[in-house]
Symmetry: D2
């Protein structure tokens, strides 16, 4: 059943539409025929822009969505007897209906974390049974940047993780569904939290940052990308009219649109958190480093608020909710919502 709701809610950055510049880029690409499946100038241009951001040595492939990017990228770097280490809260662990296990055959080994962030110390206890055939063999450390908790890894934290990974014959995967929010929050260039700190595989998100659909799988080591075009096609993620994904990424990577969208969403999240924090009985539970706000709201108020605003309860036990801002959130959206919360809580 469709929930009634105001123009813009705080349920998810997936609930937003498409940025006008992205939509215009799609329209501009809608001219005549081009070769299907990516052998077209729009795709070449978008790939060039990815290389400008992330380095000339990358290989980049476009797929339809984030789950596709994650599972197909992971398949490229694993054997079915490998294990993928991730946070218990990781999207690949809880929000992809078991797609990673199903596509890769791998087991996911999870680490409990207070803030969604992995550390070498947290991972170490999982590195046992190495070389023993009875046990799955850890091969990938998969982290989310920004995390599902709205927190962000610093470049030094990423470097520590990739060093740790490589010392232990592991590879580092970064689920960057919200990498733009992370980079904007850190005020760094995209390569400073990927190529420069030893990330091996990146899922680069588009849909949560103003695109209609489309995600990119980026390999920082070309050898590891060798079979990926087959994996993508067999994985049913090769778009026939590829140019329309490419044109969107091209727009996102032109004139820093990716950064503007993300920085705006982040700023809205900070404002929202600041306002909510001043309301009695509401407690902000995570640092607001990207575009997510986590807050404990007494249970009886949640249901009242949800009558007018659709949003997700993150943790039923602790009565914690998740509020997300997006590229199109306005300050007046926030004001309206905060007024409602104040009235409700009073």
């Amino acid at each position: 059943m469709t929930k009634r709701q105001p123009t813009r809610s705080f349920a998810s950055d997936n609930n937003a539409g498409v940025h006008p510049r992205v939509l215009r880029a799609i329209a501009r690409a809608n001219v005549g025929h081009v070769v299907a499946y990516g052998d077209d100038p729009y795709t070449q241009s978008a790939i060039r822009k990815f290389r400008e951001q992330l380095g000339n040595d990358i290989e980049v492939f476009f797929v339809f969505n984030g789950t596709g990017a994650n599972v197909l990228g992971l398949q490229a770097l694993t054997q079915p007897y490998h294990a993928v280490i991730c946070a218990e809260t990781a999207h690949i662990n809880v929000d992809e209906c078991g797609a990673p296990e199903r596509f890769t055959g791998c087991k996911l080994l999870t680490v409990r974390t207070p803030d969604g962030k992995l550390t070498p110390e947290g991972i170490k206890p999982l590195l046992h049974g190495i070389g023993v055939e009875h046990h799955v063999q850890p091969r990938i450390i998969s982290i989310s940047q920004a995390t599902e908790m709205g927190t962000v890894y610093r470049p030094a934290e990423l470097k520590a993780l990739s060093d740790f990974a490589h010392q232990h014959n592991l590879l580092l995967h970064l689920d960057g569904a919200r990498i733009a929010n992370a980079a904007a929050g850190l005020k760094v260039r995209l390569r400073e939290i990927t190529a420069d700190v030893g990330v091996d595989l990146l899922s680069f998100g588009g849909a949560k940052n103003g695109m209609m659909y489309g995600e990119a799988v980026v390999f920082f080591n070309r050898d590891q990308a060798a079979g990926f075009k087959f994996i993508r096609k067999q994985g049913s993620h090769l778009a026939s009219k590829m140019r329309f994904i490419s044109a969107q990424f091209d727009a996102l990577l032109t004139n820093d649109l990716w950064k503007k969208n993300a920085a705006h969403a982040n700023r809205m999240a900070r404002i929202l958190a600041r306002e909510l924090a001043q309301i009695p009985k509401i407690e902000i539970t995570q640092k607001v480093e990207a575009n997510g706000v986590f807050a404990i709201v007494p249970r009886r108020y949640i249901s009242l608020l949800q009558k007018q605003y659709f949003f997700y309860v993150w943790n039923e036990v602790t009565s914690e909710v998740r509020l997300m801002t997006s590229f199109d959130t306005t300050e007046s959206d926030i004001r309206e919502f905060v007024v409602l919360v104040r009235q409700t809580v009073r």
Copy 2:
């Protein structure tokens, strides 16, 4: 490497862009926030229009592309020890990089056909070893409508196949990447070649008929759709911003746009075939019943033509080429191409 080419080629209906009405529908849907993943009014409306076309008892799910529709639909109706019977030329057999086997575990059992069409007689020899555990168990007959050879099944032929299937405890899958072309060619309503003739599962194509992306999986028996929402999500084909697929299908099913696009493409194919047939040394090899034209062209001319037009050689041995028309093909596109062929062949 990108091929140079005229504005519109005859390589594939996938090389065309998006119909303007579809693009406008996307733009119209780009308003405010809606719940992600399909719980939105655009999706409800599109589903309603599918039901108007195909019957109220269907279940319909949108996915990103045709390979996704085929393999996930087939997964829903099979166990890994089943077999899927199809024409040797079927898209699922030769053009999906083994995705059906990989996703479903099933073996594909193929039938050689001169025209891409299956018949009960052609299938019968494959129905052995039933109940014997050493052998895969046939479960699905999968046909393409229109076929990969540009031919079309009559309603009576479909009925004969579905009767045969159901008598043998099999189900009938219709890969309808070009079902619009088939229906337009037959001058029948969509339900006359699906629900009315006993089709169990349909992949309903959008991208080859003027959409940007998006395909629908239609179950004609609701029980068989029970787990499909999980299959789609785990199969990484659940679109977050679903409304933009839905809006496209809505446009396609409004004011018979699906039929106009397809009928136009079909007419262009007939004209193209008629013109080519008059050129010496060129031989049309298949009936032109949809939007594909198959022709034998002497080998030395093919390479000359391909310098200016990108198109596919279908059969290297017989020197047979495939030419496809699309919703945006014009009569002057055809004239231009035919002139070139005449000059080349002369």
Copy 3:
């Protein structure tokens, strides 16, 4: 590298050989030709004996080993988007190299337990997101009887679990690699801890109780076994010379050999635990209800002991070792070992 060791160690009940009566049964079955793959009188006889033990409504299939029994049985009852709930220490979770995920596609959801035993209370928190396509859907509760910790579920505990399972649309799988030890320990008939308490699927172990190889997959609901013969064959667990697995099970189920072997091993474990408990600095950590003994042994002694006896450290952190007895363990084996431990610890 092969470890030097005494005639019989306490490393694993898998390290024992074959019970003489089992070996004789094999030799007796080695007469002339019989139809391969199970259509033979030895298999019919063994199945009959299983039905005498577990009820006439069961379906039983023989496979080569325990991993095969577990994963193929689970495959029969699941879809790839389901989840299997088990103890963190479960064999399927830690000792099968990810085979369950790889074969079934399912995610394993684990529960931390002090003694390897699941309870409804421990499972409840995992039953969320039901019906929501983003999340795997719990479908199976899988328990080990006896557990990997040497503990045993009482019939009432099993009944509580199966009631809980069935109330929540789940099925109960029992990994019975050591079900004989459990039944012998409880002094109950096999059906009292399976059919009578609502178990749906059973992996019935042979190799840990005196057989050479072979495990049985038992379905307590015939409908659920419908496709299993194909699953077994496709899962590469259909033995061509099936009669030799069948003859072994026949011997095990004749004159209560299964019970004698298990009761003996259990008694040896109790003696071993009693003796070790009297040694200073050694602490027995789990109830000895089957044929396993868990004990904390100071780290420096472990390595000394392992020079002469091969056994496994269960938990490096707590310095806990696992000692297993088997059908052929003798009291003098125990005396010898205990003497060594006393000398080492002194």
Copy 4:
């Protein structure tokens, strides 16, 4: 339903029992405890004997059966988007219930052959679409030696196939369920039809040549075996009491038992064929180069014969039957059967 039958039929070499020397080796290995899963002296000895036969550079792993050997070996050398080329009659194609597709994800591409033997010429037409992501990528040529038709590849034919394979970036797999029969028939050493002629992967059969169970996977390039121990375990083919497979192979490779068994079965097949060929209306259809005899027998006689002898009709259309001899077939078995055939046909 179990068929009534004489002591020894000609249905299958799988219907025979265990050679007495193999059974004695099992009994001899049944002494005390040894480390499970292959870290034992019996396994070391058997591996040594394999190296004596096939070269010191091999890696060899024991599994439970032939399907397991084939599919796990193939998994080790393929990616899911690869294709395996084999004869239409190959065991992996028709008799393993789709296990190869299910385990490896690969499509099987088949070649029609009159005698079950592949040739470079027959394979060539399948080598198209190389490098094109829409199509599966041929990676393995899989042949059976002896073939399912009872024919045998000469060393030069094998060399031609492996040269062809390696020139086209393919690997050569030999399904050696009956490799002993082939080597005995050719009067060559095992290495002359494997290592010496460029075979990459071998499934070495035991059960069809006097063993109870057990098959070996042999890699002739050690690098390709790197992950196999995990593949075997995850594939549920790691035997806990491995010593009993090893002891059987040890016996088979001691004093040329493998060769004696196979040569005897081959000789019985030649006699059987010679006798049948003299009976009017019976036509031998394949060269008898191993232990199989294929013959056309008028349909009405088949059913009469099957009342007393269980054997398989190979081809219903041509009324062709398959008769297999085994290590324990006697000349009087043949005489008895031939007498019956003569009486029936008369």
